[in-house]
């Protein structure tokens, strides 16, 4: 079984400005890939290229084995997506919106529409005009409309926008259920790292149009650099040994970000300075911390 989505060396220029530089990643069955990067990093552009909404300058996108530029109709057939906003016709009811979309596929039954409405919890408001919906409701409608045709690849651009914590929890449960039961692959973009932590199986970091790293969330957190809390006899005279990401917690504790080998070197240095080391403890990192550690600097700008 091949990958559901394969993105290979995507490049995109707006005029002379290069927006995407050799972006590549893969999504397999059952995977939820968190596509993380600051605003303007190229997340939405990448998604638009995948979906054929913008032209590709160079590179390839395969969805279920079909090239999106050459075999668009077959490639897009089993894709559900929300790009930028959950777009809906405001002057129509939620149900009418879903019916219009259902009409664009071969056999989507009334029962399927009702099923999706139930799945996304829209039953009570489905016959209201979308203009009366809150952003959270529209997000749900957007997800409903992207699930109608039983896709095996779901692409969600910032889907947590406008959702309250309860809504985010529901979305997470829905996505986990879908990936397990329907064997879907999901691409989910966000700049809200804390939220994605609980969603994803894999993470892809993008900054300034380049992919910085791609890995499973477990590996990502256990990436080369880690935070360690060290209990030492004194913090006097050690500032030269500390890097940018290290800090002094109190008179007897420091927190450092180090690769394993560097940690060993730091211990040696401290011993050489006649500083006693009482304990070294590995700190389990949040995704955000891991992210900052990987990309360096202020990512969320």
């Amino acid at each position: 079984m091949g990958a559901i989505l394969e993105v290979k060396n995507l490049n995109k220029f707006f005029g002379k400005k290069q927006i995407l530089k050799n972006v590549s990643f893969t999504i397999n069955e059952g995977e939820i890939l968190g596509f993380i990067g600051p605003n303007g990093a190229g997340k939405t552009t990448t998604i638009k290229l995948i979906l054929g909404l913008q032209s590709i300058n160079s590179g390839e996108v395969y969805i279920n084995g079909y090239d999106v530029t050459k075999d668009f109709e077959k490639a897009i057939l089993k894709v559900g997506a929300i790009v930028e906003n959950p777009d809906a016709y405001m002057y129509l009811t939620g149900r009418k919106n879903l019916e219009l979309i259902a009409n664009m596929y071969q056999d989507i039954t009334k029962e399927r529409i009702d099923e999706v409405i139930r799945l996304t919890g829209l039953e009570k408001r489905i016959n209201d005009k979308v203009s009366k919906y809150s952003l959270g409701m529209r997000q749900r409608l957007g997800i409903a409309s992207s699930l109608l045709h039983n896709p095996n690849l779901l692409i969600l651009d910032e889907p947590t926008n406008g959702l309250d914590p309860e809504g985010i929890k529901e979305l997470r449960e829905l996505l986990i259920k879908l990936t397990k039961e329907e064997k879907m692959g999901v691409l989910i973009s966000s700049h809200n790292l804390a939220e994605l932590e609980s969603f994803c199986t894999n993470v892809c970091l993008i900054k300034n149009g380049s992919v910085i790293t791609t890995s499973s969330i477990k590996n990502f957190k256990k990436s080369d650099k880690s935070y360690y809390i060290m209990e030492i006899s004194t913090v006097k005279g050690i500032s030269k040994l500390l890097g940018k990401n290290d800090n002094i917690v109190d008179d007897t504790h420091i927190r450092v970000l180090r690769e394993k080998e560097d940690l060993a070197k730091l211990i040696k240095d401290l011993v050489n300075k006649d500083i006693n080391i009482y304990s070294v403890k590995l700190v389990e990192m949040t995704l955000e911390e891991a992210f900052l550690a990987k990309a360096g600097g202020n990512i969320i700008d």
Binding site: L53, F72, A81, V83, A88, Y89, L100, I101, M104, S145
Partner: protein, 486 residues
Amino acid sequence: MIKLVKNELSKIFHKKAIYIIAIITAAFTLLSTFVIGLAEDVDMLFENDQYYDLLEKQLKQYDLNDVDELEWYVEDKTSIDTYKIAKEYDKDSWQYYMLSTNASEYIKNMNKAKYIEKNDELYEEALNKLNEFVKEIKDNDWTYFVSKEKIDTEETLDNLKKQLNDKDITEQEKSSIEKEIASINIKLQGLNYRLDKKIPYSYSNASNLVEEFVNNGILYLGYNKDEDSYISRDELLEKRNVEKTYFIAKYKLDNNIEKDRHYSAGDLMFQDSSATIMFVVVVIVMIAGTIMGEELSKGTIKQLLLRPHKRSKILLSKYIATLIVFVLFLLYYELVSFISYGIGTSFQSYSMPVITYSFTAHQVIELNLIQGISINLVSVLPEYLIILTLAFFLSVVASSNGLAVTISFLVYFFASIINGLISMTNYKILSIFPTMCWNFNEYLFGGLPSYKYASLPVSIIVSIVTFLLLFITTFIVFKHKDIKNQ
């Protein structure tokens, strides 16, 4: 594809704007019928007591010692006196018409004698003539006057024929007499129409039709029938106008069409040049200019492009939906016109055929209402189709409703001004300007375009090329369009 078109139609008909325009169209069309009805009555407004009372008051203010003012005094007094005599009879009657047109001559002579020449003898003479005429009208039927005029005319005709037999006359004199005989014959024919069809002298439409027949018939005699010999286009157009009016009047008289009213409701619909057709353009531009623009600017286009259909298919479905709405609105517009012209004239008059004149066959042709309207619509269809496609094109290229709608309207409204300017120039190349070519109404039934360089084949080619250029460019642009980030 059918499902996609249905989707688009469903979106269009869920918007309120289209219903609002439909209501405005109906209201405006009915209102304009009402206003035109009022305007027709305005002519008669002057022919009433109030007006002449006012005129009489004004009479007192003239200075009778001033030569100019004296003359105006006589003029005004004559029209007041004439009205006073004529109003003894009903305004629609033949007597009223005869008195108000013929008695004024005697009355003017009376007033002249009394106030300017101050000659009692002349005054008496004119007064006797007037009394005689008034008595004649009182004692006789209108046929008496027609017959009298007929006898006079026949006498003139006989005299002319005698002159023609005179051996001493030159060829030149002969041909001028022959021309005069032809004119007199038409006049005679007009009188015969009155007697045969029982059309008294009056302000009625039937009577006007006889006048039209006589006047244009006589004019038509003076024109050269060989159209190739005309150098001036204006002259040729004038000749054609006279020809058309003359033959249509003759046809209507011969076939007893429209004895009561000059225009039937059917004629009005056939010749529809009313400003209310503008509403059809409003709808076209509004739909075509927003059907893509709105989706592009609001981002909902992504909902369509993420589906398993080619972009060209999505675009085509929208174009077809626009065309369907256009046709539906056109039918609606015709229905509204049908009702309002029916109210304005009479619904019965729709049973009369639509009469027009063919310059290819040089004869009058009779159409039923549906034929007439269809032919007319087909002739203006290219203009509407091009406007529609232009709005569609602009909305795709500019991704903006406002721009597409505004520019398309400007093009529509300024087209006539641009065409007017081009018509004044002498550059033949400007005759291929699209707005000069997109309306084929002038070419109907062998008609001549008013612009001397315009021609039917060129207009057809230019219109097709303009349409295809817009249509194809729209598809190419849309196929390669990047859906910009918001």
